[in-house]
Symmetry: C2
Subunit: 301 residues, 2 copies
């Protein structure tokens, strides 16, 4: 029997966990109906297409959503909490209107920072999950992804954060730029990755003139796609580590995200002398959504 | 009466000048049939579609082409001259097979550098044109474009060069990334451009974390598209100036390209204390193609 439903609704994907009354995951569901593919009135149908059979008749089920679903281009714009903030105890969410009487949809707010300007949506819930399970953590969370977040945390609060577009830059350069011809296979050269993390961290400005060299070396000396791909990734992550040095030097570093990407970041941090711990991004998102659910129940009492 | 035809065939455009016996431009023609849109057997039809009425019957007309038409994905791969080289007196070209008996098509070689690996195609002809009209020039030529080239020249030779993907990065970020939502108008904020050239030149590594801020500021404080666009351009050009500093510090700088982009680079160089001269990119390409034509005539004697 479904108690409530946890939803992580990002730019490119919709993922849901159906939760039972005793707090277990009954079903894990996923679709490609991300925010970027949907107009405001298409969110409810996309949700029903995924969840219909798990919604009990004759009652309303809470569906708690985090992520880009609450962006300006999403279902309904949910506000941002300003830093410093407690992500785990300020998540109440706004109610999104739904036609199906079985749905009680709440969209959680993001987090904003005024100076320097920055925003997050979805990551705050993952952070809330991490803080719920690591009560005395103080340090830096790195959440790698399309837009990687570096987040300084202490006293259960997000203190400040910074975003790098490293994942998106890698996608654009490897799939849409002239470099695509030199990175067309999936292979991976670990030594090349580490070498470039280190050299780019040491001399970030050189990356600007080394990008096109991936194409030139492929043309002139048959640089393999595996090496070119690892070098590009290493250059961009090395650059990011140089740019975010002040942040990650300020405390213990935990990398939290998808498995393979987390590996790359942990390895890159090691390459510049930092030993980072790992956390499972999906699990922390679910923990954060459960924290919001418990908060809603408490507030309703 | 057509004597010969000069062709600049780039990635996205095909441009031709029909030359008369007395060395005048009879017609300037242009189409969107750039290299990237054509398979090898589509180059001749694209050329004929543009030139047909200008090709005299009963004789072969020399059509001298520079640019990406000679790339691996082009009509026929033309080799590279290794640096250091004289671009103006080594341009003989390879003959591309054509079905139409009126065509004698020659594709000029590019230029390559082994360490660090780099290549150019088309720019060497523009440089040849500049050197033909500035016999004693020694200094640095900046050729802004999709892939901006910084070229050190002395004694009529290309000595070394370096490529930055600044133009392509600007296109990808402004049209395909999350920043597109914040840069969707054409406007331009000159003061913001100059401010960002200077700050990025002074602290290049910060650009990595300032890109996403363009989106955040648009969301949080209604940053205008004109300011965001100028800031993005300023950041990327400032970064490029920092990366290529060793090159452009080595002598007088001449910026040679399309009018508006040349303006931006001259302004950016001024913002970091360098007074650069300008040259007309199209005219220099035509001069370079004419130099190759004269060389072919001499070799045939």
């Amino acid at each position: 029997m479904t108690d409530w439903i946890a939803v992580d609704w990002g730019t490119s994907r919709l993922r849901a966990w159906v939760m039972s009354l005793d707090g277990q995951v009954v079903a894990s569901l996923e679709s490609e109906e991300g925010m970027s593919k949907l107009l405001p009135d298409q969110f409810e149908p996309a949700l029903l297409a995924l969840l219909d059979e798990h919604l009990p008749q004759g009652k309303q089920t809470l569906v708690i959503c985090c992520g880009m679903v609450g962006a300006r281009q999403g279902w309904l714009e949910a506000d941002y909490l300003p830093v410093p903030c407690y992500p785990a105890i300020q998540q109440c969410g706004v109610k999104a209107a739904a036609n199906d009487a079985r749905l009680d949809v709440r969209i959680l707010p993001g987090v904003k920072q005024t100076q320097p300007a920055d925003v997050m949506r979805g990551e705050e819930t993952q952070i809330a999950g991490y803080l719920k399970t690591h009560l005395y953590f103080g340090g830096v969370l790195c959440l790698p992804g399309t837009h990687t977040k570096w987040v300084q945390v202490s006293g259960q609060k997000i203190q400040r954060f910074s975003t790098c577009m490293t994942g998106e830059l890698f996608s654009l350069l490897s799939q849409q730029s002239v470099l695509q011809h030199s990175l067309n296979d999936e292979g991976w050269d670990q030594a090349a990755f580490i070498e470039r993390v280190q050299s780019s961290f040491a001399e970030p400005v050189a990356v600007t003139r080394q990008l096109f060299a991936l194409r030139s070396e492929a043309l002139l000396s048959d640089l393999s796609s595996a090496t070119a791909r690892a070098r590009l990734s290493g250059m961009l992550i090395g650059l990011e580590l140089a740019a975010e040095k002040n942040l990650w030097q300020s405390g213990e570093v935990v990398v939290m995200g998808a498995s393979k990407l987390t590996d790359h970041y942990v390895l890159a941090l090691e390459a510049v002398g930092v030993s980072a711990r790992r956390a499972d991004g999906n699990q922390m998102t679910l923990e954060g959504l459960a924290a919001a659910y418990n908060l809603l129940l408490e507030n309703d009492r």
